[in-house]
Amino acid sequence: MSDPVSALNGASAQGFAAIREVGPLGMITLRAKGLKSLDKAIKAVTGTKLPAQRRIEVNGDRACGWMSPDEYLLILPYADVSAALASLAKSLAGEHYLAVDVSDARAVFRVEGDRAAEVLAKLVPVDFDRLEPGELRRSRTAQVAAAMWKQDQGFTLVCFRSVARYVFDLLANASR
């Protein structure tokens, strides 16, 4: 079998901020609400607590983001997704939930540098001056859906895989 290839195979661009595609990254969409076992189930996979509304809890290369009242995004190394799905199945056995691998359905970008927020402010209707560390925003990047958060002197931005080229071109253009 071949190695997994991310949508743009790690493309990068340098303007007044640095743009690079990262990945492949493991991602799981977990839909569940009000389950007693949920905290533990997530902790077992990402090592984080359950995020509060509009927050993302980061733990090294793993994270858990709040996507909606009944949806979480689990981030982890690509190779660990199967084990994580098995772990969730075990923790949540008998409960009503949905956990699916969406690692390949997404593209992930990093926008880095002192002026990274300026790049995003041209494309995303979000008040980046007031975006707190650990705050996850679901919004749009120009004409497509995206989620983003501040992390390590920059921003991580997630979009759908099919529009990876469009989003990369947007970010590169906006950083000119």
Partner: protein, 971 residues
């Protein structure tokens, strides 16, 4: 003549000369000039021709309200028509040409309109060109379009780029005059996050020209202290050259920043459109001076008094040696004093008021200027420039008392507060008798979500025309008040659209009562300046003609944008490659490398066919069909929608969504299903696979994935919120390859890794496994009638798997095929396609899909809709197959004609084609279509109309043209 003064000019840098051209003439100006100032400094008093009468026109204003001095700016890929010279900053190498003249500005044939003006009254177009009807399209319109119109439309793509940006603040202050600066400081003092916008390159508004002191300090000192104070604050952002042009609901404001208009080609975006969300909006937009309506008020050299002051003080431009000032208020006296201070002559100030006693009139008298009260201009003398004025009594009918030679006229008819931003979202206005103008009514502001005022107005925009408050400005709408028609015929209200006092009066006589109708009939205020100078004067004339009052007549609606915004700024980054998102499958690059010809499917681009050298697209499609039917075809089916539905109530949920039964589908099997909307119309279709006890995978059409996912969530969140069902759209998680044709199984066996035999994996089943080491899920389903597998792999392996299939398929005759081949093959089998056989008015029963509709279920979405008499009518058009008698292909979109004609004289119809192709397999045209009472008419010959005229005969038959018994897929 107008010229540059030897000294002065607070905005120009005399050490930085720049060269520019106007109509090819090389002219000199200074850094800091506007183009208008540069033109005046070079005695270019006449700068254009008017729209309708082609009268010579000069610069009237000094800001965005300018109606006349519009030019074509730049050349080639940087040509921009209708650029206002008064807001265009001069730069070295600027090229400009005047507009609306032929053959030249100095000599124009259109000026003949001027002499036939009495044949071009208000509503002229409506009256004259209405008959005979065809003449409008073929004769009148082309001529009018050529001779009228302002700037030239660019013919090249724009060389510049544009961008947009989002900004957020507690308080947005629009306008950085004294009032705006104070408002910004006050908000900043409270710790609020402030954005201050100023349309000009510099701050201060009119204060440096009109004031000597602010708050007891010299104006320049006050201004520079304020500027450095605000600049030093972290919570204040100042943006100059940025016009806040529109206020929208919920504190949303659009502003256009002219980033690089004055530095073209420096690599920066030309404009930046700001999309600002503000907690509170402060409109400090000032006021615009009104012209006076006297005969010849459009002759070059007649200028607004405030504008003339700007040219003298800011740019050291003399409008001419002798200027007559004409006014109804004190502010114009400042112009007289400024001219005097610059060493120029003011032969007289004509004041329409009976008395002029304030400090400014006294100062003028003290400066030795002759002040004539109760006087008016009877007429301006001159053609291409002012040569003098005749004086009369304002109270009279224009009997000339005196003639004064002069080169320029400075006029002031009072000031109108700029209430646009207040009004955009519904702020109401009051008529203020003190200043004879509309002012914002603080009791009726535009409202926020919580009922609070969204916009606050300060300074001149609120009616406080001077720093001390409100002056008294009496109404003077016509000069002299009893002017005869010969004079009113030459009193311009709207300079740009050539609307005169007499036109508005005519409209009133013809019965136009509503101001909105009068506006459209006369075109008053409909030019690119949107009536900034003409609206109030026009309203006053209309009110007077109707014997009514101005507040009763009311204003026309103020709509964004306040000033014209270039389309480039509105488009922002959306051009070229990033005009719109283009969705690509993981195999997109491989298709490009294979020379695929793409077609749009939603935002996806899918290969339509893979033409080889020398092949037409049609030939390529035929080859792909034949190869797939005889050997092996490979299709990128990744765009197919894939939605996971899971939960204890998932089966029940899907039984409601689909017309068939999905809850009974055994694990490991697949079933074709139809989805309808509540009205019963067919909405989407696809194969559903049961993954485990709790989980189904629903395939949707490529274009329908997002819509159907949203449809599911809508029902789950809004109607059946207590059902335990979760959904996830995993369309993009998987690349999907359809392996189709007699050699399909062989290919999978070559790839190896799992048993795909007829016994282990029969038709309409799926299995997980590996192929060539790739983790795959194989669905044995067919949309072509061939032996066929659809293989899903994680998208990150999609390109590699596609390549592996091609490589392994070489010996088996594998060829990729595109969407058109897919269409032809499904049509040969009589399979329907959402969007071809359906159009939102078709129910499954129309398509003979009754077998896919459960009779047992108590309910499903669309069930009751389909029971309505109209949809249950046996006369409905039903899907049938058609074979032309001559083997030709029925034209796309053709109707099946019936006897007789309808009320419009059109042929009656009894059906229409839905899919029509040349079948390379059957070597003839095949078609599906809807035919009234179709199933009862098998064997009948019907006629389809054709594009060329005439009809083509076709025999009615069933829809399955090929392999009726399904032997090919059942192997």
């Amino acid at each position: 003549m107008s010229t540059r003064l030897a000294k002065g000019g607070r905005l120009i840098d005399r050490t930085a000369p720049v060269e520019f051209t106007f109509n090819g003439k090389r002219l000199k100006g200074f850094q800091g000039d506007t183009l208008a100032a540069g033109l005046l400094a070079n005695d270019q008093v006449m700068v254009g021709r008017s729209f309708k009468y082609h009268r010579p026109r000069g610069i009237v204003a000094s800001g965005p309200e300018e109606p006349n001095a519009l030019v074509n700016l730049g050349l080639g890929a940087r040509l921009e028509p209708n650029q206002r010279t008064t807001t265009t900053e001069l730069f070295d190498g600027l090229d400009s040409t005047s507009q609306n003249h032929w053959p030249s500005l100095e000599f124009d044939v259109g000026v003949v309109n001027n002499y036939v003006a009495r044949f071009l009254p208000a509503g002229f177009y409506y009256k004259t060109f209405i008959h005979p009807r065809p003449f409008w399209k073929h004769v009148f319109e082309p001529i009018i379009r050529r001779s009228a119109g302002l700037g030239k439309a660019p013919t090249e793509g724009d060389a510049d780029r544009y961008e947009q940006a989002y900004a957020f603040c507690d308080v947005l202050v629009i306008g950085a005059g004294v009032a705006g600066l104070k408002a910004a400081k006050a908000a900043a003092d409270k710790g609020q996050r402030v954005i201050l916008l100023e349309q000009a390159p510099t701050l201060g508004g009119r204060a440096p020209v009109d004031q000597t002191e602010v708050d007891g300090q010299p104006v320049e000192a006050w201004l520079s202290a304020m500027e450095s104070d605000l600049a030093a604050r972290d919570n204040v952002t100042i943006r100059t050259r940025t016009c806040g042009f529109g206020v929208y609901d919920h504190g949303y404001v659009l502003a256009d920043e002219r980033v690089a208009d004055h530095t073209p080609g420096d690599g920066r975006p030309k404009h930046r459109l700001w999309r600002i969300r503000a907690g509170r909006i402060v409109s400090a937009t000032g006021a615009i001076e009104r012209p006076l309506s006297f005969a010849g008020n459009d002759i070059p050299g007649v200028m607004l008094a405030g504008a003339m002051r700007d040219y003298v003080v800011n740019y050291a431009v003399s409008p001419g040696d002798r200027t007559v000032v004409v006014t109804n208020n004190d502010s114009a006296y400042q112009t007289a004093l400024a001219l005097k201070a610059a060493g120029l002559d003011v032969p007289a100030i004509l004041d329409a008021r009976d008395q002029a006693t304030g400090p400014l009139p006294e100062a003028a008298r003290a400066a030795g200027i002759r002040v004539l009260t109760g006087k008016a201009i009877a007429k301006v003398k001159g053609a291409k420039r002012v040569t003098g004025v005749t004086v009369c009594a304002q109270a009279g009918e224009g009997a000339v008392q005196e003639e004064i030679p002069c080169e320029a006229v400075a006029m002031s008819g009072g000031w109108s507060p700029v209430v646009h931003l207040w009004s955009h979202c519904g702020g109401k206005l009051l008529w203020d008798d003190t200043i004879s103008a509309f002012v914002p009514d603080p009791a009726r502001p535009p409202l926020n979500h919580d009922g609070s005022a969204m916009v606050e107005v300060v300074g001149a925009a609120s009616g406080d025309l001077t720093l001390d408050g409100k002056p008294t400005i009496p109404p003077v709408w016509v000069m002299p008040q009893g002017a005869p028609i010969a004079y009113r015929n030459k009193m311009w209200l709207d300079y740009q659209n050539d609307v005169k006092v007499s036109d508005v009066q005519l409209a009133a006589r013809e019965g136009y009562l509503s101001v909105e109708h009068t506006k459209r009939y006369t075109t008053l205020g409909m030019a690119t300046d949107q009536g900034k100078l003409s609206n109030i004067n026009g309203l006053a004339i209309l009110a007077d003609a109707q014997g009514s009052q101005i507040p009763q007549v009311g204003t026309t609606t103020f709509r964004p944008p306040y000033t014209p915004v270039t389309i480039g700024a509105l488009a922002g980054e959306s051009r070229g490659e990033i005009f719109q998102p283009l969705r690509r499958t993981p195999m997109h690059e491989a298709h490009e490398a294979a020379g695929a010809y793409f077609e749009p499917v939603g935002l996806w681009r899918r290969p339509y066919c893979y033409p080889r050298a020398g092949e037409t697209h049609e030939q390529a499609v035929h080859r792909e069909v034949t190869n797939t039917r005889t050997n092996l075809g490979l299709l990128d089916a990744s765009t197919l929608g894939k939605i996971i539905v899971k939960g204890p109530d998932a089966g029940r949920f899907l039984d409601m969504l689909y017309t068939g039964v999905m809850s009974t589908l055994p694990v490991g099997k697949c079933r074709y299903g139809l989805m309808c909307n509540e009205q019963g119309f067919l909405s989407d279709d696809g194969v559903v696979a049961r993954i485990d006890e709790d989980t189904w995978l629903c395939h949707t059409t490529s274009g329908g994935a997002d819509r159907i996912h949203a449809w599911m969530e809508d029902w789950l969140q809004c109607e059946w919120w207590d059902w335990k069902v979760y959904t996830a759209n995993v369309t993009e998680q998987y690349a999907q390859v359809a392996v189709v044709g007699p050699n399909a199984r062989k290919l999978l066996q070559v790839l190896g890794g799992m048993d795909v035999s007829k016994e282990t994996l029969p038709f309409m089943q799926w299995a997980d496994g590996t192929l060539a080491g790739f983790p795959v899920r194989v669905y044995r389903i067919s949309f072509s009638g061939e032996l066929s597998y659809e293989i899903a792999v994680p998208a990150s392996h999609g390109a590699a798997f596609w390549a592996a299939c091609q490589e392994a398929g070489k010996a088996l005759g594998a060829m990729p095929y595109g969407t058109e081949c897919l269409h032809v093959m499904r049509a040969e089998k009589g399979f329907i396609m959402i969007g071809d056989e359906t159009d939102g008015t078709v129910i499954p029963q129309d398509l003979g899909l009754d077998w896919a509709i459960s009779k047992k279920k108590a309910d499903f979405l669309g069930k009751r809709g389909q029971e309505r008499t109209y949809l249950a009518n046996p006369d409905r058009w039903k899907l049938m197959g058609f074979e032309t008698l001559d083997g030709s292909v029925v034209p796309d979109g053709a109707y099946i004609v019936a006897e007789g004609v309808n009320a419009n004289g059109q042929r009656n119809t009894q059906g229409r084609v839905t899919s029509t192709y040349y079948s390379p397999t059957l070597k003839r045209g095949i078609a599906m279509g809807l035919l009234k009472q179709g199933p009862a008419r098998v064997g009948e010959v019907v006629e389809f109309n054709t594009v060329a005229g005439g009809t083509v005969k076709a025999k009615v038959r069933d829809t399955v043209f090929f392999d009726k018994d399904g032997e090919k897929q059942n192997v």
